[in-house]
């Protein structure tokens, strides 16, 4: 038995060989060419010793080769561990350990950085994507590989892990979200149904491929027989130029991107964009004014969705169809059921909130991931019976529409990227001049939120802000960099001494420190 995901793709390649499968960064590839690329990639991995169930890490960029890797992995029954290339090496190493990584595919810059700090300790092979590099296999060998789909002497059942998506846990330990081949298929099928996607659609992915959203938007069209448009890097200008040229019909975009795109769309010299049939906004609530202006300018169906990597999309709303529910994130997908849990209630009885009452959003869904890889206890802690606790707060109305009210988890979302403040605290607290510190969310017009940092210096110690920023540049990822740093004499705590992270900003403002 072969992989269902890979087989669907290969069937499309046979039926639609000359159709455009994917476009990225000026390069367009037909289904036939993409099938050859996927097969060559599989043969390369096999020739280097990749075996069923192996985990392959890749600091991943948005490219046609990255998209091909997902299908090779599915076909061979191996698992891809996509990593954010901007993570500091220490975090990448931790993620590779948590993800039980055997092989690595990366660019020269990554291997060179590893070598500067003690090398790379993996049991399997390393492939260098862009250049020759000592002790790695050059990716250019791919062209010498056969373009036939390899024969396998084992079965792929669909339960195999396909992707481990890394999120950082609140304790700083990476939390690998384990998504099986069947999970990925079911998630794609649900989105195809809900958004009535067909082979005629051109689906644009504009977020990084190491996030589940872009993975879905690239895998989905290729198993459907539609076309994928993969934005190499996001800036509003690059998106607009790409959309004007490539004429996509569908996308799921993150709300921070849409707000930036709108600014550009309103300029007098902006191109007219008429190709979209449907745009879905995700990640955070979009401001109503932004939403209405986008609908006006893009003249398409406009949806908003709510979900999380662990549970995929949970709810959806089309604004043209539900005009009296403009502040809702919609009704559940057929696959999902929602419970709103009353806070601090651990008993089996009377735990559900009444309509209109705010509590934690918990979801039971057929689209739930396999779990957190090798962290069963963490997954168990996140479940309430068979409902996944999202860590988000919200309420349901009488008609079954969900409303998002905020976050229970201490999380900063900057431009749709989740940042766990504790990870930043841990790194900053290592500095000898720091008594205590706390990263917190600071509002930002462009990104929704940015990271801010409050530091209490040790007595008789001075904080050199420039040295601190250099330290942050070295030890934190780009999305974790503090945009604002405040030196304070204490942090707000409750009577039990617990840090009140969400109260830091108002504390600073009351003290006149946020000017």
């Amino acid at each position: 038995m072969r992989s269902r995901l890979a087989s669907l793709f290969y069937e499309n390649a046979q039926a639609l060989p000359d159709k455009e499968a994917i476009w990225c960064d000026g390069q367009s590839v037909t289904y036939r060419e993409m099938a050859n690329l996927v097969s060559r990639y599989s043969n390369l991995l096999l020739s280097l010793g990749a075996a069923y169930g192996d985990h392959i890490a890749i600091p991943m960029n948005n490219s046609i080769e990255s998209a091909a890797l997902f299908f090779s992995a599915a076909d061979l029954g191996v698992c891809v561990v996509p990593l954010n290339p901007s993570l500091p090496l220490e975090a990448i190493r931790a993620a590779m350990t948590a993800g039980d990584v055997k092989h690595v595919i990366a660019r020269k810059a990554f291997f060179s950085e590893c070598d500067k700090s003690g090398g790379l300790d993996i049991p399997g092979f390393a492939i260098c994507l862009d250049q020759d590099y000592p002790n790695t296999f050059p990716f250019s060998k791919l062209s010498e590989m056969p373009a036939q789909r390899p024969e396998l002497d084992y079965d792929i059942t669909g339960s195999e892990s396909l992707i481990l998506t890394m999120t950082s846990g609140s304790t700083g330990t990476p939390k690998p979200i384990d998504i099986s081949q069947d999970n990925k298929y079911d998630r794609c099928a649900a989105h195809i149904r809900v958004y009535r996607l067909t082979r005629q659609d051109r689906i644009i992915a504009a977020t990084p491929l190491y996030h589940t959203l872009a993975e879905r938007l690239v895998i989905l069209p290729l198993i459907l027989g539609a076309s994928s448009v993969l934005l190499p890097r996001f800036t509003p200008a690059i998106w607009l130029k790409c959309v004007a040229e490539q004429k996509p019909t569908f996308t799921i975009a993150v709300s921070a991107q849409l707000a930036q795109i709108l600014e550009l769309l309103k300029k007098p010299d902006a191109p007219s964009i008429t190709s979209f049939r449907t745009i879905v906004s995700s990640s955070a609530l979009l401001e109503a004014s932004v939403k209405y202006e986008l609908i006006e300018l893009l003249q398409c169906e406009f949806h908003e969705m709510y979900g999380a990597s662990e549970v995929s999309t949970v709810t959806d709303i089309c604004f043209q169809e539900a005009r009296d529910k403009q502040n809702s994130v919609g009704k559940p997908f057929d696959e999902a059921k929602i419970k709103i849990l009353r806070d601090e209630s651990e008993s089996d009885f009377d735990t559900e909130c009444a309509p209109g009452e705010i509590g934690e959003i918990a979801v039971r869904t057929k689209l739930l991931c396999k779990g957190y890889y090798r962290q069963e206890a963490m997954m168990k802690a996140a479940m309430f019976h068979d409902y996944f606790r999202t860590g988000d707060l919200g309420y349901m109305d009488q008609d079954g529409y969900l409303y998002f009210s905020g976050r229970k988890k201490e999380l900063i979302i900057t431009g749709a990227v989740n940042v766990y403040p504790h990870d930043i605290d841990t790194v900053i607290a290592r500095l000898p001049e720091v008594e205590e510190c706390a990263a917190f969310s600071y509002p930002d017009d462009r990104l929704g939120e940015v990271v801010a940092l409050a530091i209490v210096p040790k007595e008789d110690h001075e904080i050199n802000l420039r040295a601190l920023r250099t330290y942050c540049a070295r030890n934190l990822a780009d999305f974790q960099q503090p945009h604002k740093i405040f030196l304070v004499d204490r942090l707000p705590r409750n009577t039990m001494g617990k840090l009140q992270r969400t109260a830091i900003l108002s504390y600073l403002r009351e003290a006149g420190l946020d000017g």
Binding site: N61, R107, R233, R469, T470, D478, Q481
Partner: protein, 82 residues
């Protein structure tokens, strides 16, 4: 040492994506073209300060010039000579 600055900056910008051969790297605005995003720019600047033992003024950091590869290279080189 000058070659070192140019190589370091161009390598850093290409950590995730190779700049196509037909693009004039020195006039490239690496932020507008998405090679380094606005979040990554802070990190890039402090990495340069650390690597070459220099420091940028607030005005230099605010100037759009710093986002052009050639201008950034010249600025770092000038600071090293000063």
């Amino acid at each position: 040492m000058k070659e070192n600055v140019k190589e370091f900056i161009i390598d850093y910008i290409q950590r995730e994506y190779t700049i196509p051969g037909d693009i004039d790297i020195l006039t490239l605005n690496f932020v507008e073209e998405g090679y380094v995003d606005s979040l990554g720019l802070i990190q890039f600047v402090y990495t340069l300060e650390d690597e070459f033992n220099i420091s940028f003024s607030e005005n230099e950091l605010k100037s759009p010039d710093i986002k052009i590869v050639g201008n950034l290279i010249r600025l770092v080189e000038a600071k090293m000579e000063a």
